[in-house]
Symmetry: C2
Subunit: 401 residues, 2 copies
């Protein structure tokens, strides 16, 4: 019997009407003779509300207790969704992260799934029950609750699909697929019928918030048949696959990531090993560094700039400031008035004109580029935050329109 | 090292200020060189809010899903309390029902604790950590979450105290001890410095909502040193013990239970086995029956009346109506405009004047008695609901004032 994993985000289960909407999607699939495991996020703003509640009590609460707190959100949404499916007259059972067998490492608030022990889910499936699973959470080797970090429910869904060799993993969102750019920002954005894992990965890491990056990595690794579809409309979504049919379009998407800060370490001595030390310090604190730029400064010194996610700003500044003398840096500064705009497309590498065309489009829109980063299938530029929307439209017109 | 179990109810952790108040009670005890396990209920109206949320989705939701839902309440309050204790600078860990080792039977929404596997708690205590435990919940043999029913956190606390042979189990409430009657209702109510388990049991089952009945039963069975004290004021509470010092006062308390319905099965044939059948039907549905009255009806038939808790009314009426023909009853009716008023005291049995004095006091207050029930240490009467407060004051004046 076919097995479908379906994942529903927080806005898809935000209230009674939406919960029943999701219940109908699930039971329709079940009635088609398929087995269904549904992974669900916390309702609407629940997670944010819980974080605010914790901050009121203790802004420096331990991450272990944060995870114990936050995991309650999915426990509520999964039970309510199961109750809705019961109301529609179908056999169903809700399982929390532990019951569903999610074993993670111990990095509280951003744990990684080590394995999924699917015995319990399989037992329930064998009884032809619909299984509702809490996304975003698991337990570690100490038997304590962990959470996977923002958007972790996507990863939960793909992990179950991989572990159970599901026929399809559908990620339901409030958009109806993957677009060339955020349709709320860019007028001529187009929906893609297919996209490759690599392109999806670049789009995700460039700020397109459709799929959680780790979920795409995992889907690629285990070759999970992934589909992004709408929980509000019943029409085909976007298939995410290993290889896609060649399309006319070279550039698959334009993305913007506002969640980024540029940090500059100024006046470093121009000798070997300095960059290594900086990035080792940051790596020790598990800070992800994105675009890196090294330039010659005044008086034979050099400057190293790089971008980090906004929520790593404080930790990065703190870590570097503590070691300012060791690094022999003149000073360390940051700029959070920046945004990263990217174009993504698999054919890019073999088309040397793409970068030039991108820079030209930005130049014509009077947008100054602060940093540049390229990979096989994307080009990212760092620009002033207030120019982000203008840049996306300019690039969309140049490459897609 | 001394071990103290402290239990805090939902109103004691309803907001930030109260959570810190509780955190200070706990850390004060810890600083006195004692080990502390604190059992906590869900914040304020959380449980009621979750029940309302479920009812909106599915008024007939399965009890298994109800328990999965409701257990989130204590998970939130226990994590927040742990965060407050972290903020005060003490080592602490929160554990949910499963982590704390609560193994229950499978009667969802009213499960009974079978045993507490205290290894994890002991391991944390050995590290001199304060341990916060979610009350009200456990897991059953199927690895599913269960809850213990209303007031179950008291039972959780006593169960841990019993399993760990704690030196003291303190139940913190918003009253400062056990009173002869509810001080909000009866003007001359007095606080007791001591009360016996049996008296406390009768008071609890007669509607005094200070301690959950099962918690007192369990404390009596395992001889747990119990104390009821105030989370708002730092003064001695009421000790609940096996035997108390003889006090002048014969009657320890006057209690009222509005949560009661009288059901009458009318016109039964006057032959053996009828009462047995009725109460077996109810027992099969796990309905608790309290006062029972059998009387001779018209035409040689008999009537059987009894009281059940309000929330069993529908199930009891349904069950009996289904079997009306089998029982050969003329009709079945209920009256929910009743209340049960009781006096409780250990010396009662050897003082035959007590019942007469009680009935006289009610007679003089012009209160009609519908049913009477007595035990070794209490006398209960069923009267019209609107006369409950009047009856309590009349009895308090007669016996205590």
């Amino acid at each position: 019997m076919e097995l479908i994993v379906q994942k529903f985000g927080g806005s898809s289960v935000a209230n009674k009407e939406r919960i029943f909407n999701v219940a109908r999607i699930i039971t329709k699939t079940y009635q088609e003779g398929k087995n269904v495991v549904a992974v669900v996020s916390a309702q609407g703003d629940t997670t944010d509300d819980l974080i605010a509640k914790a901050a009121e009590i203790n802004p420096h609460a331990s991450k272990r207790e944060m995870d114990a707190l936050l995991s309650s959100g999915e426990q509520i949404s999964s039970a309510l969704l199961a109750m809705a499916i019961e109301a529609l007259g179908f056999p169903v059972v809700s399982l929390n992260g532990r019951q569903a067998g999610f074993v993670t490492d111990s990095s509280y608030t951003k744990a990684r799934i080590k394995r999924v022990i699917t015995e319990r889910i399989e037992r329930e499936i064998d009884k032809r029950r619909i299984v509702i699973v809490t996304g975003f959470q698991g337990i570690n080797r100490y038997d304590d609750i962990t959470t996977l970090g923002r958007g972790g429910s996507d990863t939960s869904a793909v992990a179950i699909a991989a572990a159970m060799k599901a026929d399809l993993c559908q990620i339901y969102t409030d958009v109806d697929g993957v677009y060339t750019a955020d349709p709320r920002i860019v007028k001529n954005a187009r929906k893609l019928s297919e996209i490759s894992f690599d392109e999806m990965l670049e789009l995700a890491s460039c700020g397109a918030q459709v799929l959680h990056n780790r979920s795409v990595e995992m889907a690629k690794k285990y070759n999970v048949n992934l589909e992004v579809c709408s929980s509000l409309e019943d029409k085909p979504g976007t298939k995410v696959k290993e290889v896609t049919k060649m399309e006319q379009m070279l550039i698959k998407g334009v993305a913007k990531d506002d969640d980024v800060v540029r940090i500059a370490v100024i006046g470093l001595p121009d000798k070997p090993g300095i960059a290594f030390r900086i990035f080792q310090l940051l790596a020790n604190k598990k800070i992800n560094v994105d675009i890196i730029l090294q330039s010659i400064g005044r008086d034979g010194t050099k400057d190293i700039s790089f971008t980090v996610p906004s929520d790593s700003k404080e930790l990065a500044m703190e870590t570097l400031s503590e070691h300012k003398e060791l690094l022999d840096a003149a000073h360390i500064e940051y700029d959070d008035n920046v945004t990263k705009v990217s174009i993504v497309g698999a054919g890019m590498q073999s088309n040397p004109g793409v970068a030039a065309k991108m820079f030209e489009a930005l130049y014509e829109a009077d947008i100054n580029i602060q940093m540049i980063s390229t990979s096989e299938i994307k080009i990212s530029v760092l620009i002033a935050k207030e120019l982000g929307v203008k840049a996306m439209n300019a690039l969309s017109n140049a490459f897609i329109g």
